[in-house]
């Protein structure tokens, strides 16, 4: 286990060093994230323009959802996107061989190899928006609420990671899976709004098929101290199950890779 932590540290230092070769990216990413956020705020403000509410959520509560979404986007750009998109390249160029020949868990290598600092603006802006909106909404930062919020945020990350990893891993069969991960990313845009804002059919889809509800709405409820026990449990269960599925799926996919040539 200790070796994995050492490796992780070396991985991230190496990738930070590599990314800092391109310093202008930071400014571009900051501007892009801020622009995105302003755009989302504007769309959201249209719904609330005449004192209406969105799926029973107040303006401030909806802002918490947007904050969670921005935070997730930031983490995505920092960890998920840079790592998981290279799986496709590894399969296509055959450099996956090098990963498989290392005496370390290949899923760990593929998921944690790179760390890109360009998502940090999103993480900071998202966290700030969550804090501000939760305060405006009158949420009380009780220890239990904070714990539930942290757990649900972690669960949400685990779900997002697993979904993405499974899609990327299917490149072992389809090789050009790049578009599919882009589709996933656009579906996740739905997470900018509380899931109850969508019509019933879509709501079911975003809860049971692509669990967008667990990505932003459930963590936001936990932050606002409105989470119900069953939803928290469901969130945790979905998270555990999806990570387990991703691990199983990877082993399954490797069986096909290792019985073919490249």
């Amino acid at each position: 286990m200790g070796r994995y932590f050492t490796t992780l540290r070396v991985f991230w230092i190496a990738s930070l060093t590599a990314e800092l070769e391109y310093k202008a990216n930071f400014l571009i990413e900051l501007v892009a994230t801020a622009g995105n956020l302003v755009g989302s705020l504007f769309v959201l403000s249209l719904f609330y323009g005449r004192g209406q509410s969105l799926g029973g959520w107040s303006w401030e509560a909806a802002l918490v959802v947007l904050g969670v979404y921005t935070l997730l986007e930031g983490i995505t750009s920092t960890l998920l996107q840079p790592n998981l998109s290279t799986i496709v390249a590894h399969v296509r160029t055959g450099s996956l061989d090098f990963v498989l020949l290392k005496p370390i868990d290949s899923q760990f290598w593929l998921s944690a190899r790179t760390f890109s600092p360009w998502g940090l603006p999103g993480i900071v802006l998202g966290a700030a928006l969550i804090g501000f909106a939760a305060w405006k909404a009158g949420a009380i930062p009780a220890p239990l609420t904070l714990l539930a919020a942290a757990l649900m945020l972690i669960a949400s990350l685990m779900i997002l990671y697993s979904l993405w990893f499974v899609l990327a891993a299917s490149s072992i069969w389809f090789v050009k899976i790049w578009n599919a991960t882009e589709v996933l990313r656009s579906v996740l845009v739905a997470g900018r709004f509380p899931v109850s804002a969508f019509p019933t059919g879509l709501r079911a889809f975003f809860t049971f098929v692509v669990p967008v509800a667990f990505l932003t709405t459930v963590p936001a409820e936990a932050i606002l101290g409105q989470a119900s026990g069953p939803w928290l449990l469901a969130g945790g269960a979905v998270a555990m199950a999806s990570v387990a599925v991703s691990r199983w799926f990877w082993q399954f996919a490797l069986r096909f890779y290792t019985s073919a040539s490249s």
Partner: protein, 327 residues
């Protein structure tokens, strides 16, 4: 006790049987037809620790497939493999720490960073202590004649420097068995020679076992006392390079420079005439009659100069693969 052992190794692939063009693709989409290709069949050999073995074969002969089975990247369809006491495709950490695979056309170094950063990553992955890793890097860098290059981003290195750095990265964990797939691919003659002398040096110094494939016959002749020749998936030859040459080229080439031009019929009794260009003649003479015939040539004809050589091994093996016939 052999360190690499393959017994009746075989690998079949199922590939899509598809006609070219859009129509073919559509037809394939509707009714998928597959056929099986036998890439490797019934290959058996064993390699003792410390041996340096060349692995020859035309493109598509089954070399890479065999290497992938030996390193555990693919499962064999039939037969058994054992490398360094383990079954490769189980990919146990202990086994992976004892082997390495270098592929001339693929790279593991991080493109934007100096090789040293990639080496740090490898040291962590293989669990090598920082002090020990520094010592090994210094030793290997000296053997490879690498210095400042390790501190320059990989993208700014020449192909030769990059390959040497790749070798360093692949050998940092001091593997006992090296699988080298075209490690000199695309390198210029000087860089090839340096990589070659490094490999010989490494093999001697650490007693490592090496299995090398290369399209450059010079690599094989310089490094490999023993060669395995694979043809259409089957092991065709296993033995010394010298015996292979004799077996494949039973004749030697004799070049003559004559005092004055002569017709082809004048040489019929000495050997097979390969070419006649003015006063220069090239003859092929069977090995066992070489001394006798050269003696006769010198006695009978007005010879200005005479030399004897083996036809280049590239030619022999190239011709062999080209004809596709191995008797």
């Amino acid at each position: 006790m052999a360190i690499v052992r393959a017994q009746g190794l075989g690998k079949t692939y199922r590939v899509a049987d598809k006609q070219p063009g859009l129509a073919g693709t559509l037809r394939h989409f509707v009714s998928r037809r597959e056929r099986t290709i036998q890439a490797v069949r019934d290959v058996s050999f064993s390699i003792e620790p410390g041996e340096f073995v060349g692995f020859l074969g035309a493109n598509g002969a089954g070399k890479t497939t065999t290497l992938k089975m030996l390193t555990g990247l693919i499962h064999p369809t039939s037969g058994t493999v054992e490398v360094a006491g383990s079954v490769p495709h189980r990919r146990q950490a202990d086994f992976l720490g004892r082997i390495t695979l270098v592929m001339g056309q693929k790279q593991q170094l991080i493109w934007d960073l100096p090789p040293l950063d990639s080496l740090r990553v490898n040291a962590a992955v293989y669990g090598i202590e920082p002090a020990e890793s520094r010592r090994r890097i210094a030793e290997l860098a000296e053997m490879l004649e690498l210095g400042d290059e390790l501190r320059r981003p990989v993208r700014k290195l020449s192909l030769g420097q990059r390959m040497k750095a790749e070798l360093l990265a692949a050998l940092l964990h001091r593997p006992a068995v090296l699988f080298l797939d075209e490690p000199t691919l695309g390198l210029d003659v000087n860089a090839q020679a340096r990589v070659r002398s490094f490999l010989a040096d490494y093999n001697r110094r650490f007693g490592a076992t090496v299995l090398l494939t290369s399209h450059y016959m010079a690599d094989i002749t310089a490094l490999c006392p023993r060669v395995l020749l694979i043809h259409e998936g089957r092991l065709f030859y296993d033995g010394s390079l010298e015996t292979l040459t004799q077996r494949l080229a039973p004749c030697r080439e004799v070049r003559l420079e004559l005092h004055q031009p002569m017709g082809a019929e004048a040489f019929a009794s000495y050997g097979e005439v390969e070419a006649i260009e003015g006063r220069e003649v090239r003859l092929l003479i069977p090995r066992e009659r070489l001394t006798e015939q050269v003696g006769r040539l010198l006695a009978d004809l007005a010879v200005v100069d005479l030399s004897v050589s083996d036809p280049p091994i590239e030619d022999i093996i190239g011709r062999l693969f080209h004809q596709g016939a191995l008797a």
